[in-house]
């Protein structure tokens, strides 16, 4: 198994397409950082136009490394599933397309081992991608913009909110958020892997994975009670953005943020369990289908 995993990682590392994802993330982070360095205050003005502030806001202090990373994650984590699907969707179908699948399966290991090795390799790729994102979006932003207290703008119900997190209370939230995002993106990897088992070329599972994510995300954003109640709880995309929960800090009765607190830990925990259950079902199905599959490619 370890042998197989090493080989899978070696193959991933040797494919040029692997590095497209890292290049895309770096480029997008740099674009964000450049834009905010040049004209971040205009963005703040736009955000705050509907917020009544009863205090003076030092806009230069607000646009710091922590704030920048949150802005980047908010935008990029919606796109990263495409990059994960690019690798995981190619896992089995790519081998079938190249004709190497039949050779692989004549080797003395089981199909379950092969799927698990491919899945773990995809998870490692996803983790590396997020680590790289952490470097590009967080560390680089901290170097460019410095660090200060982190301000979050949030729409809750009909009201806009500003949450303030003290700078020494931020880092653990990012660690937790990146950890959560890894689990969330692993669902995409498991979905793409499952679709990959059925196909004999890579395009189909990659496009299908992305389409499923897009459709489910759109439905997750429709705010109609009947959908809220009956459909959204079943969609994994409703839980993909659960990482944000680590930045929603609890406030006391006087509206003062409580250090080290989370506004709704049970919701985050439930999202995490649902994502893990999704991974289990998708991966289990992929193994079941692949074990029964006749290899005709």
């Amino acid at each position: 198994m370890w042998q197989l995993l090493q080989i899978e990682l070696f193959k991933i590392s040797r494919r040029p397409r692997t590095y497209i994802a890292f290049a895309v993330i770096t480029a997008l982070c740099l674009v964000f950082q450049f834009a905010f360095k040049m004209d971040g205050e205009s963005y703040l003005k736009l955000m705050l136009q509907n917020v009544d502030l009863d205090f003076d806001l030092d806009k230069k202090k607000v646009i710091n490394g922590y704030f920048m990373c949150y802005i980047i994650l908010n935008t990029l984590l919606v796109q990263v599933p495409i990059l994960v699907a690019l690798i995981a969707g190619d896992s089995i179908s790519g081998e079938a397309n190249m004709g190497t699948l039949r050779l692989l399966l004549t080797k003395p290991f089981s199909r379950t081992q092969l799927i698990l090795a491919k899945f773990i390799a995809a998870v490692i790729f996803t983790t590396m991608l997020l680590l790289w994102m952490a470097v590009s979006a967080l560390v680089l932003s901290m170097l460019i913009f410095g660090v200060d207290d982190m301000m979050i703008f949030r729409v809750k119900g009909d009201a806009s909110q500003i949450l303030l997190i003290q700078q020494d209370d931020v880092v653990w939230r990012y660690v937790a958020a990146f950890g959560f995002a890894t689990v969330a993106l692993t669902v995409i990897a498991a979905l793409a892997l499952l679709l990959s088992v059925f196909a004999e070329n890579s395009i189909g599972p990659i496009v299908a994975s992305v389409c499923i994510v897009i459709v489910c995300t759109v439905i997750s954003n429709i705010n109609v009670p009947i959908i809220d109640k009956n459909i959204k709880p079943w969609l994994f995309t409703s839980d993909l953005v659960g990482w944000k929960g680590f930045f929603y800090i609890k406030v006391d009765e006087e509206g003062v943020p409580i250090r080290g607190s989370l506004e709704n830990w049970p919701a985050i925990r439930n999202s995490l369990f649902k994502l893990l259950a999704n991974i289990g079902v998708l991966l289990g199905t992929a193994i079941w289908v692949f074990r029964k599959k006749d290899v005709l490619s």
Binding site: I7, L103, T106
Partner: protein, 311 residues
């Protein structure tokens, strides 16, 4: 001596199609076993079942005296295979491909082992070139090296000469014979060309529409004493009179529309001699084995000319 491969009443059904039907055969140690059939006859399906790529619908497969499904890992550790095209990782070098598949086969590949394998198939000087730059023949040879890298006892090659030029076909044939004669491997090789199997195999099986047609030793099945010679002449009546007065009269198989006589291949010059001496205009004497005739009838589409097999 017990067989290396023993297949009994094997079948494979796909929706609306029976690809393999009640197929039984045995492969003995040291055999180059030819698996012959037209395209779609069920050769590849059978080979894929031998390698667990396809699940059988019925019957049993024993390899090395063990039931395949229950001993898959142990058996596959001792089997090397190239199924159809030897597709490898194009973005990796020959060396990297070989090393990967060696490790997958459960061995730690030493540099000398990898280089020896590449030398065996004539690719030592291209070891560090990416496979995407290889010709079809080179890929085929690298595929053989991959199949051999873990020193298997049984090698399964599905249509190994497909897509090769004549020189490549000859080289592949030599390599297969070396595997058997010099390295003592048992080889199962499939082809849709009888001539290919005749030149490589000592035993063979003909399969048609998923069913066994005949199995046996090539020397017996393609016995030169049972060659059918077709006499091609515009003077059919005169030729028949000459043949009727000769020692081959009793071995005349047909007289219309074509004259066909069963004889030893070595007797063909003598037949040509008496016909020419009798003043018969002879356009040709075409030797065919009865098995070849039969196999041609399987592969010939009515109205379409099919080239004869190499002698």
């Amino acid at each position: 001596m017990s067989p290396i491969v023993s297949v009994s009443h094997l079948s494979k059904k796909f929706p609306g199609l029976t690809a393999v039907d009640d197929l039984s055969f045995t492969v003995m140690p040291g055999d180059v076993y030819g698996f012959l059939g037209q395209n779609g006859a069920g050769k590849s399906t059978t080979m894929r079942m031998l390698l667990t790529l396809i699940r059988s619908s019925g019957g049993s497969i024993h390899i090395f005296d063990k039931e395949l499904a229950a001993n898959r890992h142990d058996i596959l550790r001792r089997v090397g295979a190239v199924i159809e095209k030897p597709d490898l990782y194009k973005y990796l070098t020959a060396w990297q491909n070989l090393a990967i598949f060696a490790r997958m086969s459960g061995i730690r590949p030493a540099k000398t082992l990898l280089m020896n394998q590449l030398q065996l198939v004539g690719l030592a000087d291209r070891a560090h070139d990416k496979v995407k730059n290889f010709s079809q023949g080179m890929k085929q040879r690298l595929g053989i090296a991959v199949a051999l890298v873990h020193d298997p006892s049984l090698i399964i090659l599905d249509e190994p000469t497909n897509g090769l030029d004549p020189q490549g076909i000859a080289e592949m044939r030599q390599l297969i014979l070396r595997l058997s004669n010099e390295m003592g491997k048992t080889v199962i090789v499939s082809s849709h060309l009888l001539g290919e199997i005749e030149l490589m195999a000592n035993r063979m099986l003909i399969i048609n529409k998923g069913r066994k047609v005949v199995e046996g030793h090539v020397a017996e099945l393609l016995d030169p004493a049972r060659t059918i010679v077709q006499v091609d002449t515009p003077d059919t009546a005169a030729a028949l009179r000459v043949i009727g007065d000769s020692a081959w009269a009793a071995r005349l198989k047909s007289s219309t529309p074509l004259i066909r006589i069963e004889m030893h291949r070595n007797e063909i010059p003598a037949l040509a001699g008496i016909l020419v001496n009798a003043g018969i205009s002879l356009q040709g004497l075409v030797p065919k084995h009865s098995l070849e005739e039969y196999f041609l009838s399987l592969t010939t589409i009515p109205g379409q000319h099919v080239a004869t097999f190499a002698d």
